[in-house]
């Protein structure tokens, strides 16, 4: 692994981020990444965060048109409330803060505590919990559907609305609408290696894949012998469509988990488009690349969002972040 010691991987990455992106304020000690012009007067602020290891999520999405601040935790561990409170205080212009939270027990609990603490300090806080992963079916017997690729849709679309000056309740409503309209499914071709462990986090024999894997390598629905990109696309898209019945064009995220080359990911993207076409689902926009990763895991995920006209317009709105930028 390319690192110094496991204990400093997150801090080292933040120092690198600061070096590469002078347009961000990176507080390495307190682990908060803030857009340099924050707080922006009259604007609702968006704050997100989660375990590290999913780069460019979330620090890569800080900037005009998306997040105002991000809080990276330890690898695959949620950040602590102090980080979120600090971030909220740094970006709140008085219009309030929306916490974008992925549905994992740790993230939910820490953001919940942070919301209470921030409100004690006079910051108005609303929260949206992203839970798009259809691989988790029986939410009565689990911690519920996980938050994965749809987080990017929420951050982009709600971020654009905030940039336009929408008030906190509108931004939060929109964020919830995006969550309700989005579903994801992920596939692992290899296990990821965490810095602390220095080796594969779970045991996935070569020649097998895990269908429905989570972004921390949580197990999915089933294991099968290796399938072709065509077969994987059929399986993943059908899994999403079984839970989401789009009656209008979709936003599609064809996402790499960090260890799959773009050559393979583009080929997979072609198959995703093919199967969506066969199922009669028109695609309005496609974003393809490594956007919500899982360290070095080989694999891919598909996220679809049934987008109405407002969501599409906000998706197309200008964004200027380290990992997503267009329209300026």
């Amino acid at each position: 692994m390319l690192m110094n010691v496991p204990e400093t991987v997150v801090a080292d990455a933040l120092r690198g981020m600061a070096a590469a992106h002078p347009e961000l304020v990176v507080d390495v000690d307190n682990r908060v990444v803030v857009r340099r012009d924050a707080p922006v007067a009259g604007k609702v602020a968006l704050v997100s965060g989660g375990g590290s290891g999913h780069e460019p999520l979330h620090g890569g999405y800080v900037g005009p048109g998306m997040l105002d601040a991000a809080c990276p935790g330890e690898v695959f561990t949620s950040p602590v409330p102090d980080q979120m409170v600090r971030a909220a205080a740094a970006v709140d212009s008085g219009e309030g803060v929306l916490f974008v939270v992925k549905n994992y027990t740790g993230d939910v609990l820490n953001f919940q505590m942070a919301a209470e603490l921030a409100e004690d300090e006079g910051v108005r806080v609303a929260s949206v919990v992203v839970n798009d992963d259809v691989a988790v079916t029986d939410s009565l017997h689990t911690a519920g559907r996980r938050g994965t690729g749809a987080t990017l849709f929420v951050e982009k679309i709600a971020g654009a609305a905030a940039e336009e000056g929408a008030p906190l309740d509108r931004v939060a409503d929109l964020a919830n609408r995006v969550v309700e309209s989005s579903r994801s499914f992920g596939v692992a071709l290899s296990a990821c290696a965490t810095p602390a462990k220095g080796g594969p986090m779970f045991d996935l024999p070569a020649g097998e894949l895990e269908l429905g894997v989570g972004i921390h390598g949580e197990p999915g629905r089933e294991r099968r012998p290796m399938m072709t990109a065509r077969e994987i696309a059929d399986y993943a898209v059908d899994a999403v469509l079984a839970d989401l019945n789009p009656r209008q064009p979709v936003l599609a995220l064809v996402n790499g988990m960090g260890g799959t080359p773009l050559l393979e990911l583009y080929g997979f993207g072609a198959e995703v488009h093919r199967v969506l076409g066969e199922r009669g689902v028109p695609v309005a926009r496609t974003l393809l690349g490594n956007y919500v990763t899982s360290l070095d895991m080989a694999g891919c995920s598909v996220t679809l969002c049934q987008a109405d006209a407002e969501m599409l317009r906000l998706w197309d709105a200008p964004v200027q972040t380290a990992a997503l930028r267009w329209g300026r």
Partner: protein
């Protein structure tokens, strides 16, 4: 707290191994980081009462651990400490009542029930057994943790394994047993609630 930190330190690798089987392989290192910070804070600014020791320790865990265990253990210690109030010394009975409040707060925060294969499966029987002795509480916590082996996890990251979580001891219940064992050892040394 020092005993708890030492115990977490000693067993961090085992906790992480347990977590590696059904979670994301960081329970040991996260708690290790948190309890090291607790010990440091208590040494720098020693609180005056047992209640204050626990609330300070709880706040420190929330600030340093992250994940689900930060808020859960932080809440356990904070609520227990708050329930102890300002008293300069604490009887075993008072500690048991306060721990009950702490454990109830954990149950409410995490939304878990007995048998979900969580830390509650160690904490609940331990508080019950505290009516007998500290040693009985520690023993009950260890047994409670071992009793999670045949259970299917219904909370936290292990829940995604479904039936595949059966056969694994819950890391959170295991760390809870460690803490009660540390408490019992300290109580035997005559230190009481600290």
């Amino acid at each position: 707290m020092t005993a708890a930190a030492a115990s977490v330190d000693r067993e961090a690798a085992r906790l992480t191994d347990l977590d590696s089987a059904i979670g994301d392989a960081d329970h040991g290192s996260n708690l290790q980081r948190g309890f090291a910070a607790v010990v440091k804070t208590l040494e720098t600014e020693p609180p005056q009462t047992p209640g204050a020791v626990l609330t300070t320790a709880g706040r420190q865990l929330i600030s340093t651990v992250g994940g689900a265990s930060g808020p859960l253990y932080g809440t356990l210690l904070r609520r227990t400490g708050k329930a102890l109030g300002e008293a300069g010394s604490v009887t075993a009975d008072e500690l048991r009542t306060a721990l009950r409040a702490g454990v109830d707060a954990v149950a409410q925060l995490g939304g878990a029930a007995p048998g979900d294969a969580t830390m509650l499966d160690a904490l609940n029987p331990a508080v019950e057994a505290l009516a007998t002795s500290f040693a009985a509480a520690a023993e009950a916590a260890v047994q409670g943790a071992e009793a999670t082996v045949p259970l299917q996890a219904r909370k936290g990251r292990a829940s995604y394994l479904g039936e595949r979580s059966i056969g694994h001891q819950d890391p959170g219940a295991t760390s809870s047993a460690l803490l009660f064992t540390a408490l019992a050892q300290t109580a035997d040394d005559g230190e009481g609630a600290k």
